[in-house]
Amino acid sequence: MMRSKIHLVVIIGILVFASVRLFAAESSEYELKAAFIFNFAKFVEWVNRSDIDQINSLPLCLLGEDPFGVVIDKLEGKKVYEYAIHIKRIASINDHSGCRILFISQSETDKLPKLFDVLNQKKGILTISDIKGFANGGGVIELVLNENRIRFIVNIAAAKKADLYLSSKILRLANVVGGDWGEN
């Protein structure tokens, strides 16, 4: 038992150390967030995807102030399954046409209710933001920093509403709000 405890301590120690190292710089937080965004695409299925099949690309739109910088540009052209990511920076929600993944910057915190008004009318857009209460507000995925680690909250109801199908693997890792996937 002593030994196993020691093991556990050692493992936890290593993990903590790694996390501290990982988030030592501010820039690497967004670097990670960019990776998360890219990876979410792999576990999300767009129910209606006739348009993306047509253009054979997956437009990723950034709304508001860009916190990523060049980090996000690295995703340009990277493929999710057969679709290539296409970065698109938009200043207004009105420019959202064609966007399939929409990252909303913290700069848009105040405009959020207005944004949801627009987005609720829209289907087939995976909304991601690190604005606090984004998921509870009606966003699909909210990125949160928890104990220096990036976690995420998924609003299943919002996903359903947006005609998105989320993999159970993501749900297992996420804090889920908006009821069960199996409901409705």
């Binding site: 493992i11 990670l32 998360f36 792999k42 990036i150 993999s167 693997k169 890792l173």
Partner: protein, 627 residues
């Protein structure tokens, strides 16, 4: 193998069964175990691989979203698979992301990501890359123990082996039963055969009611026994008949045999006789060849004296071990003289009178078998010890002498082979041969004498003189010696004839002859030249000596006393002519002529004197000859 062949059939069957079953058992169990183990290992690998894939698929999200807790939870689901002892997740950088250890007590040091799957007898380790959207996002590593599989295998193997042994035992029991079903009837059959061969009871039956080969064999044997029984009865009858015949025949044979033995003994006897006869014949042949050999040797003898060693040799050979002597009459027939004496106990008496020998007295052989109980000849009275025989030697009707043979009974060839009678017979035969040979020799001697001697005077005749003179001259020439020749003639010989008659004349000639014989030396030769003429040949004499000799002879003649019928005859004188080789002649004729001339000269000078031959005459001749 040899020993195995001698085993009883049941043992053979069981042994064969055992061996085959054991081999099959061993091979099948080994093969089964081996293949099972290989299968188990492969299965373990495949299963673990599947599990790893599953784990990889379930943990890709947690790996991507960096949620080790979720990953650990996923790994923790492995707890249901108790054979997995270790599991780990690695991210794409090769850093460990999460791990699972089944038994916290078990120490397991894991050195990074293995390059490939590993399997050994105890553990299987697999490395499964986690792929998401064609990108390798990490690896999952699983390690499982094979212990359970081992245990299962062992259990299965044990069960299988048990079942096989059970099957083996059952098969064995069947084999034994089968063996028995063959061997029991066979043993019974062999026992029956043994009993039959011992007791000759052909009424025994096998009583085996089987339909298989053994049954066929048994019924065959029953049938055979029945037939044998019948035959045995017939045979017994036959045997009795045969026995009677044999008895009859044996008796006949016995009789024949006895007869044969008898004949055989007769034949043996005859054979012995034949052998005896044969050996006697051989002996006879041997004796005959000896006799003929002796004859041949005697034939080539020139004189009686020469026969002595021949006679002694052959007598010793013919009469093995005997002694004896061969005597012949001397010239006056007053005594017998030995010409040969032989043997260890040869006679001591040298010569004896005719009356001293019974054989010579009777004119036939005198045998003495026992010297103590018989008439012994006087000539051998003193030294005879055993049987002897005296055989008169008769040839051409004349008794020449006697063969005296002392038989040595001790060292005789063989008493039964050579009986006394045989010896006597041989002695007689031998004596006949000897007599004839000696008589011939004597005859030859006489003839010889007659051819060279003058019968009246006993001196050599003129022919002999001629030969002698020639021989002597040749010798003188060779040796450069001298030779004297004296020719002499009785003075007034006619007067003797006229006065006293021719008988006296012959007497005178005879006496002169005797006188001349006495007067000459050994090498000198005296011859009657013819009528009342004589010639003396004197080798190696010289001038002075021959004169002395001539004078000596002339004087001697005058002293010869001749008496005829009480009447004294006087007035005998001779004239001599002397010649010498080579002075007076170098040839027979010239010498004789020279001597004759000298004799004529002596007569002319008045008789009763000698005259030497004339020197010149011979020297002339010599000169002529030398030229």
């Amino acid at each position: 193998m040899r020993r195995f062949r001698d085993y009883p059939i049941s043992k053979k069957l069981i042994t064969t069964f055992c061996v085959i079953a054991a081999i099959t058992l061993l091979v099948s169990i080994t093969t089964l175990a081996f293949t099972s183990w290989i299968n188990e290992r492969n299965r373990a690998l495949t299963e673990l691989k599947t599990t790893a894939e599953l784990i990889g698929a379930n943990s890709n999200a947690s790996l991507i979203f960096r949620d080790p807790l979720a990953a650990r939870e996923t790994l923790a689901t492995l707890r249901t698979l108790n054979y997995i002892v270790f599991a780990a997740l690695y991210d794409s950088n090769g850093n460990e992301f999460a791990r699972y250890i089944r038994d916290k007590d078990a120490e397991y040091i894991f050195g990074g990501i293995p390059k490939e799957d590993r399997i050994d007898d105890q553990f299987v380790t697999v490395v499964q890359p986690i792929i998401l959207d064609d990108v390798e996002i990490g690896n999952v590593i699983l390690r499982a123990t094979l212990q359970q599989r081992w245990d299962l295998l062992k259990y299965n193997m044990g069960t299988t082996a048990g079942l096989l042994v059970l099957a083996f035992t059952i098969a064995m029991l069947f084999a034994i039963a089968l063996g028995r079903s063959i061997t029991v009837p066979l043993t019974r059959l062999s026992e029956i055969m043994k009993r039959v061969s011992l007791d000759h009871d052909y009424s025994i039956r096998t009583n085996i009611n089987q339909k298989d080969e053994v049954g066929v064999l048994a019924s065959g044997i029953d049938e055979m026994l029945a037939q044998a029984g019948e035959r045995d009865t017939a045979l017994e009858k036959h045997r009795k008949e045969l026995e009677e015949v044999v008895t009859h025949r044996t008796e006949a044979l016995q009789a024949a045999n006895e007869k044969l033995v008898e004949e055989l003994s007769i034949r043996e006897e005859a054979e012995k006789d034949l052998k005896h006869a044969h050996s006697e014949l051989e002996l006879h042949h041997y004796e005959f060849s000896l006799l003929s050999e002796m004859n041949d040797r005697l034939q080539v003898c020139h004189s009686i004296e020469e026969t002595s060693p021949v006679v002694a040799h052959y007598m010793r050979k013919l009469f093995n071990g005997s002694s004896g002597g061969l005597y012949i009459f001397n010239s006056s027939r007053s005594l017998v003289e030995p010409i040969a004496l032989w043997g260890e106990s040869k006679p001591e008496v040298d010569m004896f009178k005719q009356d001293d020998c019974w054989a010579l007295r009777q004119g036939h052989a005198h045998f003495v078998n026992d010297s103590d109980d018989d008439l012994i000849c006087a000539h051998c009275e003193q030294d005879i010890t055993g049987p002897y025989v005296c055989i008169p030697m008769i040839a051409y009707g004349d008794v020449m002498g006697v063969l005296h043979l002392r038989i040595n009974t001790g060292t005789q060839l063989s008493p039964d082979l050579k009986s006394m009678e045989g010896i006597y017979q041989l002695a007689i035969t031998t004596s006949e041969h000897l007599s004839l040979a000696l008589a011939n020799l004597q005859l030859r001697e006489v003839l010889q004498m007659q051819s060279v001697r003058d019968p009246l005077t006993g001196l050599y005749n003129r022919r002999y003189m001629q030969e002698s003179l020639e021989r002597e001259i040749a010798r003188c020439l060779r040796n450069k010696t001298m030779l004297g020749v004296i020719m002499l003639d009785i003075d007034f010989f006619k007067k003797f004839n006229d006065t006293y008659g021719h008988d006296v004349g012959d007497l005178v000639l005879n006496e002169l002859g005797n006188f001349l014989k006495q007067m000459i030396r050994g090498e000198d030769v005296a011859c009657r030249f013819g009528g009342e003429e004589f010639i003396l040949i004197l080798p190696g004499i010289d001038d002075a000596n021959i004169k002395l000799r001539a004078e000596e002879i002339r004087k001697g003649v005058k002293d010869i006393q001749i008496t005829n019928k009480g009447q004294k005859i006087t007035g005998l004188a001779i004239s001599l002519g002397v010649a010498l080789y080579p002075q007076h002649g170098t040839t027979v004729d010239s010498l004789v002529i020279a001597a004759d001339t000298a004799l004529y000269e002596a007569k002319r000078k008045g008789r009763d004197q000698y005259v030497m031959a004339v020197q010149e005459h011979s020297s002339n001749e010599k000169t002529i000859q030398s030229v």
